[in-house]
Protein backbone atom coordinates (compact mmCIF):
# COMPACT_ATOMS: atom_id res chain seq x y z
CA UNK A 1 0.00 0.00 0.00
CA UNK A 2 1.27 3.45 -0.91
CA UNK A 3 0.54 6.42 1.27
CA UNK A 4 3.13 8.90 0.15
CA UNK A 5 4.08 12.10 1.89
CA UNK A 6 1.68 13.51 4.36
CA UNK A 7 0.35 17.02 3.93
CA UNK A 8 -1.55 17.12 7.14
CA UNK A 9 -3.43 20.37 6.65
CA UNK A 10 -4.54 19.62 3.15
CA UNK A 11 -5.46 16.18 4.32
CA UNK A 12 -7.46 17.62 7.18
CA UNK A 13 -9.44 19.81 4.81
CA UNK A 14 -10.19 16.95 2.46
CA UNK A 15 -11.20 14.71 5.35
CA UNK A 16 -13.51 17.35 6.78
CA UNK A 17 -14.94 17.85 3.30
CA UNK A 18 -15.71 14.15 3.14
CA UNK A 19 -17.23 14.18 6.60
CA UNK A 20 -19.45 17.18 5.98
CA UNK A 21 -20.27 16.74 2.31
CA UNK A 22 -22.86 14.10 3.10
CA UNK A 23 -24.54 16.40 5.59
CA UNK A 24 -24.13 19.66 3.80
CA UNK A 25 -25.10 19.03 0.21
CA UNK A 26 -25.59 21.70 -2.39
CA UNK A 27 -29.30 20.93 -2.34
CA UNK A 28 -29.61 22.26 1.16
CA UNK A 29 -28.33 25.61 0.06
CA UNK A 30 -30.93 25.84 -2.67
CA UNK A 31 -33.64 27.57 -0.65
CA UNK A 32 -31.16 30.01 0.80
CA UNK A 33 -29.78 30.67 -2.64
CA UNK A 34 -33.18 31.55 -4.06
CA UNK A 35 -34.13 33.80 -1.16
CA UNK A 36 -30.75 35.42 -1.28
CA UNK A 37 -30.80 35.96 -5.03
CA UNK A 38 -34.31 37.39 -5.08
CA UNK A 39 -33.93 39.64 -2.10
CA UNK A 40 -30.50 40.86 -3.02
CA UNK A 41 -31.29 41.61 -6.68
CA UNK A 42 -34.53 43.34 -5.82
CA UNK A 43 -32.87 45.55 -3.26
CA UNK A 44 -30.01 46.46 -5.56
CA UNK A 45 -32.38 47.24 -8.40
CA UNK A 46 -34.64 49.38 -6.27
CA UNK A 47 -31.73 51.25 -4.71
CA UNK A 48 -30.25 51.81 -8.15
CA UNK A 49 -33.41 53.10 -9.75
CA UNK A 50 -34.46 55.00 -6.68
CA UNK A 51 -31.18 56.89 -6.85
CA UNK A 52 -31.33 57.34 -10.62
CA UNK A 53 -34.87 58.60 -10.63
CA UNK A 54 -34.25 60.90 -7.70
CA UNK A 55 -31.33 62.27 -9.63
CA UNK A 56 -33.55 62.68 -12.63
CA UNK A 57 -36.19 64.45 -10.57
CA UNK A 58 -33.76 66.77 -8.87
CA UNK A 59 -34.25 70.49 -9.64
CA UNK A 60 -31.36 70.78 -12.05
CA UNK A 61 -33.24 68.62 -14.49
CA UNK A 62 -36.48 70.50 -14.32
CA UNK A 63 -37.02 72.77 -17.22
CA UNK A 64 -39.03 75.31 -15.29
CA UNK A 65 -36.03 77.35 -14.23
CA UNK A 66 -34.93 77.83 -17.80
CA UNK A 67 -36.71 79.95 -20.29
CA UNK A 68 -36.01 80.17 -23.99
CA UNK A 69 -36.76 83.55 -25.46
CA UNK A 70 -37.20 84.83 -28.96
CA UNK A 71 -38.35 88.13 -30.34
CA UNK A 72 -41.95 88.21 -31.29
CA UNK A 73 -42.35 87.71 -35.02
CA UNK A 74 -44.70 90.38 -36.28
CA UNK A 75 -46.14 91.54 -39.53
CA UNK A 76 -43.11 93.78 -40.07
CA UNK A 77 -40.79 90.85 -40.11
CA UNK A 78 -42.81 89.17 -42.78
CA UNK A 79 -43.31 92.17 -45.01
CA UNK A 80 -39.98 93.90 -44.72
CA UNK A 81 -37.85 90.85 -44.22
CA UNK A 82 -36.23 92.25 -41.13
CA UNK A 83 -35.19 89.50 -38.85
CA UNK A 84 -36.49 88.86 -35.35
CA UNK A 85 -33.07 88.70 -33.82
CA UNK A 86 -31.41 89.78 -30.63
CA UNK A 87 -28.98 92.62 -30.98
CA UNK A 88 -25.96 92.95 -28.77
CA UNK A 89 -27.72 95.72 -26.86
CA UNK A 90 -30.75 93.53 -26.28
CA UNK A 91 -28.54 90.86 -24.80
CA UNK A 92 -26.55 93.25 -22.66
CA UNK A 93 -29.76 94.73 -21.29
CA UNK A 94 -31.21 91.30 -20.60
CA UNK A 95 -28.07 90.30 -18.76
CA UNK A 96 -28.44 93.27 -16.48
CA UNK A 97 -31.87 92.21 -15.28
CA UNK A 98 -32.18 91.01 -11.73
CA UNK A 99 -34.11 87.90 -12.56
CA UNK A 100 -31.48 86.56 -14.96
CA UNK A 101 -29.05 84.20 -13.32
CA UNK A 102 -27.36 82.97 -16.45
CA UNK A 103 -27.78 83.68 -20.11
CA UNK A 104 -26.77 81.68 -23.09
CA UNK A 105 -27.14 82.61 -26.72
CA UNK A 106 -28.22 80.23 -29.41
CA UNK A 107 -25.97 80.03 -32.41
CA UNK A 108 -27.66 78.96 -35.59
CA UNK A 109 -26.40 77.65 -38.86
CA UNK A 110 -25.55 80.12 -41.59
CA UNK A 111 -25.62 77.66 -44.40
CA UNK A 112 -28.03 75.14 -45.75
CA UNK A 113 -28.42 71.85 -43.98
CA UNK A 114 -29.87 68.63 -45.26
CA UNK A 115 -30.25 65.53 -43.15
CA UNK A 116 -30.43 62.15 -44.84
CA UNK A 117 -31.50 58.98 -43.16
CA UNK A 118 -30.35 56.36 -45.54
CA UNK A 119 -33.12 55.13 -47.76
CA UNK A 120 -35.90 56.48 -45.60
CA UNK A 121 -35.83 60.11 -45.14
CA UNK A 122 -34.24 63.29 -46.28
CA UNK A 123 -35.06 66.78 -45.12
CA UNK A 124 -33.93 70.33 -44.97
CA UNK A 125 -32.94 71.10 -41.44
CA UNK A 126 -31.41 73.58 -39.13
CA UNK A 127 -28.84 73.31 -36.42
CA UNK A 128 -28.41 75.25 -33.26
CA UNK A 129 -26.02 75.26 -30.40
CA UNK A 130 -26.06 76.60 -26.88
CA UNK A 131 -23.39 76.77 -24.22
CA UNK A 132 -22.93 73.32 -22.73
CA UNK A 133 -24.18 74.15 -19.27
CA UNK A 134 -27.64 74.89 -20.65
CA UNK A 135 -28.10 71.41 -21.98
CA UNK A 136 -30.19 69.46 -19.47
CA UNK A 137 -28.85 65.98 -20.15
CA UNK A 138 -25.48 66.28 -21.76
CA UNK A 139 -24.25 62.84 -22.83
CA UNK A 140 -20.56 62.13 -22.34
CA UNK A 141 -19.99 61.84 -26.08
CA UNK A 142 -21.51 65.19 -26.92
CA UNK A 143 -18.34 66.86 -28.07
CA UNK A 144 -16.74 67.58 -31.36
CA UNK A 145 -13.45 68.66 -32.87
CA UNK A 146 -12.13 68.71 -36.41
CA UNK A 147 -10.81 65.21 -36.20
CA UNK A 148 -14.10 63.74 -34.91
CA UNK A 149 -15.67 61.20 -37.21
CA UNK A 150 -19.18 61.51 -35.89
CA UNK A 151 -21.21 64.61 -35.26
CA UNK A 152 -23.22 64.17 -32.07
CA UNK A 153 -26.72 65.58 -32.07
CA UNK A 154 -29.24 66.21 -29.31
CA UNK A 155 -32.86 66.56 -30.37
CA UNK A 156 -35.99 67.44 -28.53
CA UNK A 157 -38.08 64.51 -27.41
CA UNK A 158 -41.04 65.70 -29.39
CA UNK A 159 -39.13 65.37 -32.64
CA UNK A 160 -38.98 61.66 -32.11
CA UNK A 161 -42.72 61.52 -31.53
CA UNK A 162 -43.32 63.59 -34.64
CA UNK A 163 -41.21 61.19 -36.63
CA UNK A 164 -42.72 58.05 -35.14
CA UNK A 165 -46.36 59.02 -35.30
CA UNK A 166 -46.45 61.67 -37.97
CA UNK A 167 -44.01 60.31 -40.45
CA UNK A 168 -43.00 56.72 -39.95
CA UNK A 169 -46.57 55.46 -39.80
CA UNK A 170 -47.60 57.08 -43.04
CA UNK A 171 -44.46 56.00 -44.86
CA UNK A 172 -44.19 52.53 -43.41
CA UNK A 173 -40.78 53.45 -42.12
CA UNK A 174 -39.57 51.77 -38.94
CA UNK A 175 -40.51 53.44 -35.68
CA UNK A 176 -37.62 54.27 -33.42
CA UNK A 177 -37.26 54.22 -29.68
CA UNK A 178 -34.94 56.45 -27.71
CA UNK A 179 -32.55 53.60 -27.31
CA UNK A 180 -32.57 52.57 -30.96
CA UNK A 181 -32.39 55.97 -32.61
CA UNK A 182 -28.73 56.19 -31.69
CA UNK A 183 -28.06 53.32 -34.07
CA UNK A 184 -29.57 55.07 -37.09
CA UNK A 185 -26.83 56.45 -39.31
CA UNK A 186 -27.48 60.03 -40.38
CA UNK A 187 -25.78 61.97 -43.13
CA UNK A 188 -25.59 65.68 -42.49
CA UNK A 189 -24.90 67.72 -45.59
CA UNK A 190 -23.81 71.35 -45.24
CA UNK A 191 -23.95 73.64 -48.22
CA UNK A 192 -22.87 77.26 -48.17
CA UNK A 193 -20.57 79.87 -49.66
CA UNK A 194 -17.60 77.93 -48.29
CA UNK A 195 -18.51 74.81 -50.20
CA UNK A 196 -20.23 71.55 -49.43
CA UNK A 197 -19.35 69.20 -46.62
CA UNK A 198 -20.87 65.94 -45.42
CA UNK A 199 -20.75 64.49 -41.94
CA UNK A 200 -21.89 61.33 -40.24
CA UNK A 201 -24.32 62.25 -37.54
CA UNK A 202 -25.70 60.38 -34.58
CA UNK A 203 -28.43 61.20 -32.10
CA UNK A 204 -26.78 60.88 -28.71
CA UNK A 205 -29.37 62.41 -26.45
CA UNK A 206 -32.66 64.13 -25.92
CA UNK A 207 -33.45 67.44 -24.43
CA UNK A 208 -36.62 68.42 -22.73
CA UNK A 209 -35.56 71.96 -22.30
CA UNK A 210 -34.54 72.99 -25.76
CA UNK A 211 -36.84 72.45 -28.67
CA UNK A 212 -34.25 72.30 -31.38
CA UNK A 213 -31.57 70.27 -33.06
CA UNK A 214 -28.49 70.86 -30.96
CA UNK A 215 -24.93 70.24 -32.03
CA UNK A 216 -21.77 71.09 -30.11
CA UNK A 217 -20.88 74.78 -30.15
CA UNK A 218 -17.38 74.01 -31.43
CA UNK A 219 -18.89 72.43 -34.49
CA UNK A 220 -21.28 75.20 -35.35
CA UNK A 221 -18.66 77.90 -34.84
CA UNK A 222 -16.31 76.02 -37.07
CA UNK A 223 -18.94 75.29 -39.72
CA UNK A 224 -20.22 78.84 -39.78
CA UNK A 225 -16.69 79.99 -40.44
CA UNK A 226 -15.70 77.44 -43.06
CA UNK A 227 -18.95 76.60 -44.81
CA UNK A 228 -21.15 79.50 -43.86
CA UNK A 229 -21.30 83.12 -44.81
CA UNK A 230 -18.64 85.34 -43.33
CA UNK A 231 -20.98 87.81 -41.66
CA UNK A 232 -21.32 87.77 -37.88
CA UNK A 233 -23.59 85.17 -36.47
CA UNK A 234 -27.08 86.28 -35.65
CA UNK A 235 -28.73 85.48 -32.33
CA UNK A 236 -32.25 84.27 -32.97
CA UNK A 237 -32.91 82.98 -29.49
CA UNK A 238 -31.46 83.12 -26.03
CA UNK A 239 -31.86 80.80 -23.10
CA UNK A 240 -31.89 82.21 -19.62
CA UNK A 241 -31.87 80.70 -16.20
CA UNK A 242 -34.23 82.70 -14.07
CA UNK A 243 -34.68 83.21 -10.38
CA UNK A 244 -38.03 81.64 -9.82
CA UNK A 245 -39.29 84.15 -7.25
CA UNK A 246 -39.42 87.00 -9.76
CA UNK A 247 -42.24 85.86 -11.98
CA UNK A 248 -43.92 89.28 -12.01
CA UNK A 249 -40.83 91.21 -13.06
CA UNK A 250 -40.11 88.64 -15.74
CA UNK A 251 -43.50 88.92 -17.35
CA UNK A 252 -43.39 92.72 -17.27
CA UNK A 253 -39.99 92.84 -18.90
CA UNK A 254 -40.94 90.37 -21.59
CA UNK A 255 -44.04 92.25 -22.66
CA UNK A 256 -42.21 95.59 -22.60
CA UNK A 257 -39.51 94.28 -24.88
CA UNK A 258 -41.62 92.21 -27.23
CA UNK A 259 -40.07 88.95 -26.09
CA UNK A 260 -41.79 85.64 -26.34
CA UNK A 261 -41.24 82.53 -24.30
CA UNK A 262 -40.79 79.92 -26.97
CA UNK A 263 -41.33 76.87 -24.87
CA UNK A 264 -44.06 75.86 -22.54
CA UNK A 265 -42.91 75.01 -19.11
CA UNK A 266 -44.23 71.57 -19.32
CA UNK A 267 -44.43 70.18 -15.88
CA UNK A 268 -44.15 66.56 -15.11
CA UNK A 269 -44.63 67.23 -11.46
CA UNK A 270 -47.68 65.01 -11.13
CA UNK A 271 -45.98 62.13 -12.85
CA UNK A 272 -42.87 62.69 -10.81
CA UNK A 273 -44.85 62.47 -7.61
CA UNK A 274 -46.41 59.18 -8.66
CA UNK A 275 -43.11 57.72 -9.75
CA UNK A 276 -41.57 58.84 -6.52
CA UNK A 277 -44.24 57.09 -4.49
CA UNK A 278 -43.93 53.93 -6.55
CA UNK A 279 -40.18 53.94 -6.11
CA UNK A 280 -40.55 54.34 -2.38
CA UNK A 281 -42.95 51.42 -2.27
CA UNK A 282 -40.52 49.30 -4.28
CA UNK A 283 -37.73 50.30 -1.93
CA UNK A 284 -39.80 49.32 1.10
CA UNK A 285 -40.72 46.00 -0.52
CA UNK A 286 -37.07 45.47 -1.36
CA UNK A 287 -36.04 46.13 2.23
CA UNK A 288 -38.75 43.79 3.50
CA UNK A 289 -37.50 41.20 1.04
CA UNK A 290 -33.94 41.60 2.14
CA UNK A 291 -34.94 41.14 5.78
CA UNK A 292 -36.95 38.05 4.89
CA UNK A 293 -34.17 36.60 2.84
CA UNK A 294 -31.63 37.26 5.56
CA UNK A 295 -33.88 35.53 8.07
CA UNK A 296 -34.33 32.57 5.73
CA UNK A 297 -30.62 32.45 5.05
CA UNK A 298 -29.79 32.52 8.76
CA UNK A 299 -32.37 29.89 9.68
CA UNK A 300 -31.34 27.68 6.84
CA UNK A 301 -27.65 28.02 7.64
CA UNK A 302 -28.34 27.21 11.26
CA UNK A 303 -30.32 24.13 10.17
CA UNK A 304 -27.59 23.00 7.84
CA UNK A 305 -25.01 23.29 10.59
CA UNK A 306 -27.34 21.63 13.09
CA UNK A 307 -27.72 18.71 10.70
CA UNK A 308 -24.01 18.14 11.01
CA UNK A 309 -24.04 18.26 14.78
CA UNK A 310 -23.07 14.63 15.28
CA UNK A 311 -20.05 15.03 13.08
CA UNK A 312 -19.14 18.25 14.87
CA UNK A 313 -19.49 16.48 18.21
CA UNK A 314 -17.35 13.56 17.22
CA UNK A 315 -14.62 15.81 15.87
CA UNK A 316 -14.59 17.73 19.12
CA UNK A 317 -14.46 14.48 21.07
CA UNK A 318 -11.42 13.52 19.06
CA UNK A 319 -9.64 16.71 20.05
CA UNK A 320 -10.58 19.12 17.26
CA UNK A 321 -10.74 22.68 18.39
CA UNK A 322 -14.02 24.40 17.68
CA UNK A 323 -11.93 26.92 15.80
CA UNK A 324 -10.89 24.38 13.13
CA UNK A 325 -14.44 23.29 12.60
CA UNK A 326 -15.69 26.84 12.56
CA UNK A 327 -13.10 27.78 9.97
CA UNK A 328 -13.97 24.83 7.83
CA UNK A 329 -17.73 25.36 7.91
CA UNK A 330 -17.36 29.11 7.44
CA UNK A 331 -15.49 28.42 4.27
CA UNK A 332 -18.58 26.72 2.76
CA UNK A 333 -20.79 29.60 3.69
CA UNK A 334 -18.45 32.28 2.47
CA UNK A 335 -18.03 30.47 -0.83
CA UNK A 336 -21.81 30.16 -1.00
CA UNK A 337 -22.43 33.83 -0.26
CA UNK A 338 -19.79 35.02 -2.68
CA UNK A 339 -20.99 32.82 -5.53
CA UNK A 340 -24.60 33.80 -5.01
CA UNK A 341 -23.52 37.43 -4.82
CA UNK A 342 -21.76 37.13 -8.16
CA UNK A 343 -24.92 35.61 -9.61
CA UNK A 344 -26.90 38.46 -8.09
CA UNK A 345 -24.49 40.90 -9.69
CA UNK A 346 -25.25 39.36 -13.08
CA UNK A 347 -29.01 39.48 -12.51
CA UNK A 348 -28.74 43.05 -11.31
CA UNK A 349 -26.71 44.00 -14.35
CA UNK A 350 -29.17 42.56 -16.86
CA UNK A 351 -32.17 43.79 -14.93
CA UNK A 352 -30.67 47.24 -14.73
CA UNK A 353 -29.97 47.44 -18.46
CA UNK A 354 -33.40 46.15 -19.28
CA UNK A 355 -35.19 48.54 -16.95
CA UNK A 356 -33.01 51.47 -17.95
CA UNK A 357 -34.04 51.19 -21.58
CA UNK A 358 -37.61 50.75 -20.39
CA UNK A 359 -37.39 53.99 -18.43
CA UNK A 360 -35.61 55.80 -21.22
CA UNK A 361 -38.25 54.74 -23.71
CA UNK A 362 -40.83 56.13 -21.36
CA UNK A 363 -39.29 59.53 -21.18
CA UNK A 364 -37.26 59.19 -18.02
CA UNK A 365 -33.76 59.72 -19.24
CA UNK A 366 -31.43 58.05 -16.80
CA UNK A 367 -27.98 56.68 -17.45
CA UNK A 368 -26.70 53.19 -16.81
CA UNK A 369 -23.82 53.98 -14.48
CA UNK A 370 -23.94 52.12 -11.19
CA UNK A 371 -23.95 54.57 -8.33
CA UNK A 372 -22.01 54.57 -5.11
CA UNK A 373 -25.15 53.89 -3.11
CA UNK A 374 -25.67 50.58 -4.91
CA UNK A 375 -22.06 49.58 -4.25
CA UNK A 376 -22.44 50.52 -0.62
CA UNK A 377 -25.67 48.59 -0.19
CA UNK A 378 -24.22 45.57 -2.02
CA UNK A 379 -21.01 45.64 0.01
CA UNK A 380 -22.78 45.99 3.31
CA UNK A 381 -25.28 43.30 2.45
CA UNK A 382 -22.54 40.84 1.59
CA UNK A 383 -20.61 41.71 4.72
CA UNK A 384 -23.73 41.51 6.84
CA UNK A 385 -24.65 38.09 5.44
CA UNK A 386 -21.15 36.77 6.00
CA UNK A 387 -21.14 38.15 9.51
CA UNK A 388 -24.54 36.74 10.34
CA UNK A 389 -23.75 33.34 8.90
CA UNK A 390 -20.46 33.20 10.81
CA UNK A 391 -22.29 34.09 13.99
CA UNK A 392 -24.92 31.45 13.43
CA UNK A 393 -22.28 28.82 12.64
CA UNK A 394 -20.31 29.65 15.74
CA UNK A 395 -23.46 29.58 17.88
CA UNK A 396 -24.49 26.18 16.59
CA UNK A 397 -20.98 24.79 17.06
CA UNK A 398 -20.89 26.08 20.61
CA UNK A 399 -24.32 24.64 21.37
CA UNK A 400 -23.41 21.24 20.05
CA UNK A 401 -19.88 20.95 21.27
CA UNK A 402 -20.87 19.37 24.60
CA UNK A 403 -22.83 16.18 24.80
Amino acid sequence: MEFGIYYFQLEMRSLLNKIFSRRIGIGKFFLSAIAFLLGFSLVLLSVHFYAKINEFLSPKNQSSDYIILNKEVGLGNTIFGSKAEFTEEDIADLKKQNFVEELGVFTSNQFEVRVHVQGIFSTEAFLESVPENFIDEKPFNFRWNESSEVLPIIIHQDFLNQYNFGFALSRGAPQLSKSTIGMVPLKIELDGPGGRKTFDGKVVGFSERISSVIVPEEFLNWANKTVGSAKTASVPRVIIKVKSDQAGAIEQYFSDHGLKVSEDKFKFSKIYTIINIVMRIILVIGIAFIIFSLVIVILNFALIVADAKEEINLLIQLGYKTRYIFKHLSFYFIVFIISVSILTGAIFFFGKNFLTSFFVDNGISIDEAIGLEVMTVAGSFILLSILISLLSISRVIKNHSRI
Binding site: M1, Y6, E311, I316, G319, Y320, R323
Partner: protein, 201 residues
Protein backbone atom coordinates in the same frame (compact mmCIF):
# COMPACT_ATOMS: atom_id res chain seq x y z
CA UNK B 1 -1.13 13.73 35.74
CA UNK B 2 -4.01 12.36 37.68
CA UNK B 3 -7.76 12.40 37.61
CA UNK B 4 -9.11 12.90 41.10
CA UNK B 5 -12.63 11.73 41.46
CA UNK B 6 -14.98 12.07 44.38
CA UNK B 7 -17.06 8.96 43.85
CA UNK B 8 -17.88 5.64 45.52
CA UNK B 9 -18.55 1.93 45.73
CA UNK B 10 -14.83 1.89 45.56
CA UNK B 11 -15.38 4.71 43.06
CA UNK B 12 -18.76 6.48 43.27
CA UNK B 13 -18.99 8.72 46.37
CA UNK B 14 -15.36 8.17 47.20
CA UNK B 15 -12.21 10.19 46.82
CA UNK B 16 -9.94 8.48 44.45
CA UNK B 17 -6.90 9.53 42.51
CA UNK B 18 -5.33 7.99 39.45
CA UNK B 19 -1.61 8.27 38.90
CA UNK B 20 0.19 8.54 35.62
CA UNK B 21 2.17 5.48 34.65
CA UNK B 22 -0.13 3.07 36.51
CA UNK B 23 -2.65 0.65 35.08
CA UNK B 24 -6.19 0.62 36.43
CA UNK B 25 -9.10 -1.64 35.88
CA UNK B 26 -12.63 -0.51 36.60
CA UNK B 27 -15.08 -3.37 36.51
CA UNK B 28 -18.79 -3.69 36.94
CA UNK B 29 -21.71 -5.43 35.29
CA UNK B 30 -23.58 -3.63 32.56
CA UNK B 31 -25.51 -0.53 33.50
CA UNK B 32 -23.43 0.51 36.48
CA UNK B 33 -21.91 3.48 34.72
CA UNK B 34 -18.57 2.37 33.36
CA UNK B 35 -18.94 4.52 30.26
CA UNK B 36 -20.27 7.37 32.36
CA UNK B 37 -17.15 7.14 34.47
CA UNK B 38 -14.87 7.19 31.41
CA UNK B 39 -16.82 10.11 29.91
CA UNK B 40 -16.48 12.09 33.12
CA UNK B 41 -12.74 11.64 33.10
CA UNK B 42 -12.57 12.52 29.40
CA UNK B 43 -14.57 15.69 30.04
CA UNK B 44 -17.60 14.73 27.99
CA UNK B 45 -20.23 15.04 30.68
CA UNK B 46 -20.80 17.21 33.68
CA UNK B 47 -24.12 15.95 34.99
CA UNK B 48 -22.82 14.75 38.35
CA UNK B 49 -22.31 16.02 41.85
CA UNK B 50 -18.79 16.08 43.20
CA UNK B 51 -15.67 17.06 41.42
CA UNK B 52 -13.49 15.61 38.71
CA UNK B 53 -10.07 17.19 38.77
CA UNK B 54 -7.24 17.01 36.36
CA UNK B 55 -3.91 18.13 37.81
CA UNK B 56 -5.96 19.72 40.58
CA UNK B 57 -8.07 21.73 38.15
CA UNK B 58 -11.78 21.13 38.04
CA UNK B 59 -12.50 19.58 34.64
CA UNK B 60 -15.71 21.56 34.23
CA UNK B 61 -13.76 24.80 34.43
CA UNK B 62 -11.24 23.94 31.74
CA UNK B 63 -11.74 25.87 28.50
CA UNK B 64 -12.84 24.13 25.32
CA UNK B 65 -9.57 24.92 23.65
CA UNK B 66 -7.56 23.49 26.52
CA UNK B 67 -9.74 20.39 26.51
CA UNK B 68 -9.07 19.97 22.80
CA UNK B 69 -5.34 20.21 23.50
CA UNK B 70 -5.63 17.67 26.31
CA UNK B 71 -7.43 15.32 23.93
CA UNK B 72 -4.70 15.84 21.36
CA UNK B 73 -1.69 15.37 23.62
CA UNK B 74 -2.66 13.86 26.95
CA UNK B 75 -5.74 11.69 26.70
CA UNK B 76 -6.46 9.05 24.14
CA UNK B 77 -9.61 7.00 24.18
CA UNK B 78 -11.35 3.99 22.69
CA UNK B 79 -15.07 4.57 23.13
CA UNK B 80 -17.28 1.64 23.91
CA UNK B 81 -19.40 2.58 20.91
CA UNK B 82 -16.20 3.26 18.92
CA UNK B 83 -17.43 6.51 17.33
CA UNK B 84 -16.04 6.10 13.86
CA UNK B 85 -17.23 8.06 10.83
CA UNK B 86 -19.06 5.28 9.05
CA UNK B 87 -18.83 6.92 5.63
CA UNK B 88 -15.08 7.25 5.78
CA UNK B 89 -12.68 4.41 5.14
CA UNK B 90 -10.82 2.86 8.04
CA UNK B 91 -7.67 4.68 7.01
CA UNK B 92 -9.49 8.01 6.78
CA UNK B 93 -10.93 7.45 10.23
CA UNK B 94 -7.42 7.06 11.60
CA UNK B 95 -6.30 10.09 9.62
CA UNK B 96 -9.03 12.22 11.15
CA UNK B 97 -7.02 11.85 14.33
CA UNK B 98 -3.52 11.79 12.89
CA UNK B 99 -3.88 14.99 10.83
CA UNK B 100 -3.79 16.85 14.10
CA UNK B 101 -0.08 16.01 14.37
CA UNK B 102 2.73 16.98 12.11
CA UNK B 103 4.66 13.73 11.96
CA UNK B 104 3.97 11.11 9.35
CA UNK B 105 1.88 8.40 11.00
CA UNK B 106 1.83 6.01 8.07
CA UNK B 107 4.46 3.62 9.35
CA UNK B 108 2.86 3.42 12.78
CA UNK B 109 -0.61 2.92 11.35
CA UNK B 110 0.55 0.13 9.10
CA UNK B 111 2.41 -1.58 11.93
CA UNK B 112 -0.56 -1.45 14.30
CA UNK B 113 -3.00 -2.49 11.61
CA UNK B 114 -0.77 -5.38 10.64
CA UNK B 115 -0.51 -6.60 14.22
CA UNK B 116 -4.27 -6.50 14.64
CA UNK B 117 -4.87 -8.13 11.25
CA UNK B 118 -6.80 -5.22 9.74
CA UNK B 119 -4.19 -3.90 7.32
CA UNK B 120 -6.11 -5.19 4.34
CA UNK B 121 -9.26 -3.43 5.55
CA UNK B 122 -7.82 0.07 5.69
CA UNK B 123 -9.33 1.12 2.37
CA UNK B 124 -12.79 -0.19 3.25
CA UNK B 125 -15.52 2.05 4.50
CA UNK B 126 -16.10 1.73 8.23
CA UNK B 127 -19.74 0.99 7.48
CA UNK B 128 -18.81 -2.24 5.71
CA UNK B 129 -16.64 -3.54 8.55
CA UNK B 130 -17.79 -5.89 11.28
CA UNK B 131 -17.99 -4.57 14.82
CA UNK B 132 -14.84 -6.46 15.80
CA UNK B 133 -12.98 -4.96 12.84
CA UNK B 134 -14.20 -1.49 13.72
CA UNK B 135 -13.05 -2.06 17.29
CA UNK B 136 -9.54 -2.76 16.08
CA UNK B 137 -9.56 0.33 13.85
CA UNK B 138 -10.63 2.41 16.87
CA UNK B 139 -7.72 0.95 18.83
CA UNK B 140 -5.28 1.87 16.05
CA UNK B 141 -6.77 5.40 15.97
CA UNK B 142 -6.23 5.72 19.73
CA UNK B 143 -2.62 4.59 19.52
CA UNK B 144 -1.37 6.87 16.71
CA UNK B 145 -1.55 9.95 18.91
CA UNK B 146 0.71 10.95 21.81
CA UNK B 147 -0.90 10.43 25.22
CA UNK B 148 -0.24 10.37 28.93
CA UNK B 149 -3.44 8.48 29.63
CA UNK B 150 -5.15 5.84 27.59
CA UNK B 151 -8.81 5.22 28.36
CA UNK B 152 -10.27 1.97 27.06
CA UNK B 153 -14.00 1.44 27.47
CA UNK B 154 -14.62 -2.31 27.12
CA UNK B 155 -12.17 -2.35 24.21
CA UNK B 156 -12.17 -6.05 23.41
CA UNK B 157 -15.84 -6.89 23.63
CA UNK B 158 -16.01 -8.21 20.07
CA UNK B 159 -12.55 -9.68 19.68
CA UNK B 160 -11.49 -13.31 19.85
CA UNK B 161 -8.88 -14.50 22.30
CA UNK B 162 -6.01 -14.38 19.85
CA UNK B 163 -6.79 -10.83 18.78
CA UNK B 164 -7.27 -9.76 22.39
CA UNK B 165 -3.85 -11.13 23.22
CA UNK B 166 -2.20 -9.32 20.33
CA UNK B 167 -4.07 -6.08 20.99
CA UNK B 168 -3.41 -6.01 24.72
CA UNK B 169 0.24 -6.80 24.19
CA UNK B 170 0.56 -4.01 21.64
CA UNK B 171 -1.30 -1.55 23.85
CA UNK B 172 0.86 -2.46 26.85
CA UNK B 173 3.99 -1.85 24.83
CA UNK B 174 2.80 1.59 23.74
CA UNK B 175 1.63 2.54 27.22
CA UNK B 176 4.90 1.41 28.78
CA UNK B 177 6.96 3.14 26.12
CA UNK B 178 5.22 6.42 26.93
CA UNK B 179 5.11 5.68 30.66
CA UNK B 180 1.44 6.56 30.38
CA UNK B 181 -1.47 5.68 32.63
CA UNK B 182 -4.10 3.20 31.54
CA UNK B 183 -7.72 2.90 32.60
CA UNK B 184 -9.62 -0.06 31.26
CA UNK B 185 -13.27 -0.80 31.96
CA UNK B 186 -14.37 -4.35 31.97
CA UNK B 187 -17.37 -6.50 32.82
CA UNK B 188 -15.52 -8.60 35.37
CA UNK B 189 -12.41 -10.68 35.68
CA UNK B 190 -9.84 -10.40 32.94
CA UNK B 191 -6.09 -10.67 32.57
CA UNK B 192 -5.63 -8.43 29.54
CA UNK B 193 -3.12 -6.27 31.34
CA UNK B 194 -1.08 -6.45 34.52
CA UNK B 195 -3.12 -3.97 36.51
CA UNK B 196 -1.71 -1.98 39.41
CA UNK B 197 -5.19 -1.33 40.82
CA UNK B 198 -8.61 -2.80 40.31
CA UNK B 199 -11.78 -1.04 41.37
CA UNK B 200 -15.28 -2.27 41.51
CA UNK B 201 -17.74 0.34 40.32
Amino acid sequence: MAGVIDLGTQIWNKNLSFEEGKKYKVFAPSGKGKSTFIHIIYGLRFDYTGEAKLDNINVSTISRDRIAEIRQKDFSIVFQDLRLFLDLTAMENIHVKSVLYEDDPTEKILKFAETLGVKNLLDKKARTLSYGERQRIAIVRALVQPFKWLLLDEPFSHLDKENIRKASQMISEEVNKKNAGLIVTSLGHDDYFTYDFEYQL
